[in-house]
């Protein structure tokens, strides 16, 4: 009855032990030669130059909107594709029409220059 929970407890113990051992071993074995750069707080990327609180160009928001459209399209496409061989003809046609409408939107945005990088 309790067997599955015992496995989980074992897994939990092993999961804590393995990284714990490596961290402690690292602390014991590593040579200690500190310098200011090593001790500074970790930051990803390079240090900023100048004022950071400035206005940024949000020119890519329409780009993001178009992305959302196709993100949502994928949500509808998966069930459609999975049940594809069981669907009647008109259901397949409706899926195609749905994609065509989205494609029309993309064509419109493309022609209006939304996809150009500004």
């Amino acid at each position: 009855m309790l067997e599955p929970w015992i496995f989980i407890a074992l897994l939990l113990g092993a999961g804590m032990l393995l990284p714990g051992v490596t961290i402690v071993a690292n602390w014991l074995l590593a040579p200690k030669k500190p310098n200011p750069i090593k001790q500074s707080i970790y930051e990803c990327g390079i240090e900023t130059v100048g004022e950071t609180y400035i206005q940024l160009k949000g020119g890519y928001y329409i780009y993001a909107l178009i992305f959302v459209v196709f993100d949502i399209e994928a949500v509808f496409m998966f069930p459609w594709a999975v049940a594809f061989d069981k669907l009647q003809l008109y259901m397949v046609m409706e899926g195609v029409i749905f994609i065509l409408i989205l494609a029309a939107g993309l064509a419109y945005a493309w022609r209006k220059g939304v996809l150009e990088w500004v």
Binding site: Y90, I101, A104, A107, Y108, R111, K112
Partner: protein, 483 residues
């Protein structure tokens, strides 16, 4: 599901599909020849009108009751499509004059129209919600069409924020009604209420919230706050379309939901709608008196007229009167549409390129300078007041008669008294036009003039001979959902 179902929504498919095709075609139409887009849009509307006429008189439910085709929906769809044709004709020259001509205008207008068409034949609360959104979202964009003009942006933002808020009410109301009746299908709701398998409190709150959401769309007091600002700030051609189309769309849903799906709950919504009607009539007409700007004046007038049409709802709570009440509301919607499109057409003709010429004082001397235009405006003002021989009189007569038949004599009295009040500000426009001296600058554009002529002719013709319209409306009824 069969091909008949698709035929049932054919007008909607034509308009929405044509709008999408036109969106692509428009990309290759040069910027100085957007008249082609307007013409093509009208062609699509004519095809849709043909589709509606071809199935006139047919009654059926399609897509498992999601879509209802009956006299009510066909009649309203004809009205919407007619309004669309006139709105495009009014917009064409105006957009060029204001230098905001873009093909998207006509395409957004078609999308909004497709929402109205769907609204007229919605048989399910989910479809009602979809239709409301489809109707509204293009209108938000259209209101901002004169961007970067600040007042157009302000108008669009106000309309969008309050409209989104109202949509929230509508969808929450739908959820509560679903919680109470266990279905969103209108026919299912009728059956659930009849068999008393409902939670009354949820039904009361839910239908009340639907009333709030749709009351916002038709600009009924106390949900009217946005109307004057939005109508004033939006480009006038958009206002004209919005004042007529969006209002008729809202009433299509109100009549369908409350009269055909919730007659069993009439005890609940009858007092609510009665007070909304009385307040809307009173406040719309009283607030209009102090307006000096013609667009704001007509905005308050449109609030007042929403109140008149709203009277059909409490009247329809009496089952024997309900069919007549629906017909009276439809008749009033037609009179309102014809008269208001005409009045906004005159406003369009008087507006100058930079957006001035919208004060009532600017109409001084119009009677001498352009007698025909002044005569048309006088006719529209008389019709809005409800004075014979105009169609507005017939509309009010029919509606008040129905309200009296339903034994709501005090409500009819409120209607009559507020109509008398409204005479003050409508007649003032006529006084200014004929009895003051001035040098008004008036546009004379062929398309605009023809829309004013057609609506003026309609206002006068149906005022003297309403028989044709009445005969058509007498064949119209809501599909009886209870079987």
């Amino acid at each position: 599901m069969d091909w008949q179902d698709f035929l049932s929504v054919l007008p909607f498919i034509i308009v929405a599909g044509w709008a999408t095709i036109l969106l692509l075609v428009d990309l290759w139409i040069p910027a100085n020849r957007k008249g082609i887009t307007a013409g093509l849009a009208v062609l699509g509307l004519i095809a849709a009108i043909a589709a509606v006429i071809s199935r006139f008189g047919i009654e059926r439910e399609a897509f498992d009751g999601m879509i209802i085709v009956d006299g009510f929906s066909s009649f309203l769809q004809l009205l919407f499509l007619g309004v669309g044709v006139i709105a495009i004709a009014q917009a064409y020259d105006y957009l060029r004059r204001r230098d905001i001509e873009r093909g998207e205008y006509y395409i957004l207008l078609l999308y909004s129209l497709s929402g109205m068409l769907l609204m007229a034949s919605a048989g399910d609360l989910i479809v009602v919600f979809l239709a409301v959104e489809l109707l509204s979202i293009p209108l938000y964009v259209l209101a901002a069409f004169a961007i970067p003009k600040a007042d157009s942006e302000e108008s669009a933002l106000k309309y969008f924020l309050l409209g989104a808020f109202a949509s929230g009410f509508l969808v929450y109301g739908i959820a509560l009604v679903f919680g109470s009746t266990g279905t969103t299908a209108l026919s299912g709701m009728v059956a659930a209420i009849e068999s008393a398998e409902t939670t009354p409190i949820l039904l009361l709150v839910g239908s009340g919230m639907i009333l709030v959401g749709l009351g916002f769309k038709v600009a009924a007091v106390p949900f009217h706050m946005w109307t004057p600002d939005v109508y004033q700030g939006a480009p006038t051609s958009v206002t004209s379309f919005m004042a007529v189309g969006a209002k008729a769309g809202g009433f299509a849903a109100l009549l369908r939901i409350f009269i055909s799906a919730l007659p069993g709950a009439a005890v609940m919504w009858m007092p609510l709608t009665m007070w909304i009607a009385a307040l809307t009539m009173a406040w719309g007409n009283i607030a209009a008196i102090s307006q000096t700007n013609i667009k704001r004046m007509l905005a308050y007038s449109s609030i007042a007229h929403a109140g008149y049409i709203f009277m059909a709802l409490p009247a329809a709570a009496t089952p024997e009167v309900a069919p007549e009440a629906v017909r009276a509301a439809l008749f009033y919607l037609v009179t309102y549409a014809i008269t208001n499109l005409g009045a906004w057409g005159v406003v369009l003709a008087m507006e100058k390129a930079e957006g001035s010429g919208l004060e009532i004082e600017d109409y001084s001397g119009l009677g001498k300078k352009r007698p025909a235009l002044a005569l048309a405006m006088a006719l529209f003002m008389l019709s809005l007041t409800g004075i014979p021989p105009t169609v507005g009189f017939m509309g009010k007569f029919y509606l008040f008669q129905v309200v009296i038949d339903a034994n709501l004599i005090w409500l009819a009295l409120v209607g009559v008294v507020t109509s008398l009040i409204s005479a003050y500000y409508y007649l003032r426009v006529i006084v200014v036009m004929y009895m003051r001296d001035g040098e008004p600058e008036v546009r004379s554009e062929a398309l605009l003039n023809s829309t004013i002529f057609i609506t003026a002719f309609g206002t006068f013709f149906f005022g003297i001979l309403p028989g044709f319209l009445l005969k058509m409306i007498n064949q119209v009824s809501l599909l009886d959902l209870f079987r």
